[in-house]
Point group: D2
Chain length 133, copies 4
């Protein structure tokens, strides 16, 4: 069913061109991802600080259709999908004033945080994927 997240564009997100700095859209997407994890009862502090398994991003892409300004209220719609035993992807659509302003995709692999070797997705991520599918 996916996950929906609302974000107000902040001054620190902008650049001297007067709009959101391109790479910061990926920060906003990542914030939506963090919020979706918390909504699945995952402890964000444990997940991102000294975890046993981690989910580093191996690919990201982003397309920009309209400029986004400080103060804009964005709606980020997320869908996530399993890509194998140790990999998943997230698709993001970012709307401003009901118009698609940007879309993005991130691909994540599951690794053992101490050895950095690939490992199977744990149960709590499978559940999160079920919610976000």
């Amino acid at each position: 069913m996916g996950f929906s997240y609302s974000y107000i564009v902040r001054f620190r997100d902008t650049d001297a061109a007067g709009v959101v700095y391109f790479a910061n859209i990926l920060n906003i997407c990542h914030e939506a991802y963090e919020s979706s994890l918390a909504a699945s009862d995952i402890d964000i502090k444990e997940f991102f600080t000294k975890p046993i398994v981690a989910f580093p991003i191996v690919h990201a892409d982003v397309d920009f259709f309209r400029p986004i300004f400080c103060g804009d209220i964005l709606i980020i719609k997320m869908i996530a999908k399993k890509l194998g035993n140790d990999k998943f992807e997230i698709n993001y659509e970012i709307f401003a004033q009901n118009m698609l302003a940007s879309k993005a995709n991130t691909k994540h692999v599951c690794i053992d945080a101490s050895t950095r070797k690939r490992t199977d997705l744990p149960g709590y991520i499978i559940s999160w994927l079920d919610n976000l599918g």
Copy 2:
């Protein structure tokens, strides 16, 4: 009466020491400031993008009492005060788990955005200061 703002610490706020990167606390304070302006019916997009008058920060200081982690839910308590006809300051207290984790202060001057010369605080900022005092 002041203004109170809640913020969830994001992964992008952290650094390789596993806690919030020091300068990012000022971003979080600025976000509380933006939210307080919006709560006073100030148009954030106009205020920060091509404004007629602007309020650049001429001083900032921040003290850190406890480390802040990804996922921490912060409460930022703000009080603002007029410092003359063309200047104001904001005091911020940042709480994590009901303990004071950090405090900060920013001083802002009012300038004509095209000439960058000092000018008197406009009525909407006086009203905002009245609410935040």
Copy 3:
């Protein structure tokens, strides 16, 4: 023949996982782009602050092959290519210790900065593209 840029990874580039935060690789690529413009005698301040024509990014993608750490000395190799009268792309390869750690691509369109309508690439960008091809 392309352009080569060296970058030392900074503490602010990292996150609580102990490595460079994914979106910050795009900041490092953009810094290489800025440096290549300066090397073609383009005035960076004019180019990015109140320009007549601007070159917003309409697409970016990035792949990550190896974690990058604070203090790592990166070599960024750039090649740029015209994609039509009003568009160009840049390919970036990011090396750490002589190994490919990441690669990225950005696509830029040329717009009139006041109307935001598409316009032809100006001569100084054609020259820059000739140097970076």
Copy 4:
């Protein structure tokens, strides 16, 4: 003797007001600090990633005298001073076109990175302080 560092202002340092975003000046100061540590033969990766002792910032302040623009070439002059057995401070002066544009101060304590308890400054920091005094 102090330490001097040169920095070219990047697009990502700016905000929609067309100048450097206030908190980013502290990033630039921190970059000068990192460079001074490297100049004292300190391994930056070890220092900032999983260190035995760490030097978190407990206070920062910054004053802004002139706007700083994308492309500006800054000179950062640093002086550091021991403040006791487990504490030091750094004073930064930031010049643009030979004029003082900003100054900043950071205070750091020395802690055991695993227990987060205060501990004496190690020899390599004493040597660095001797160079930066």
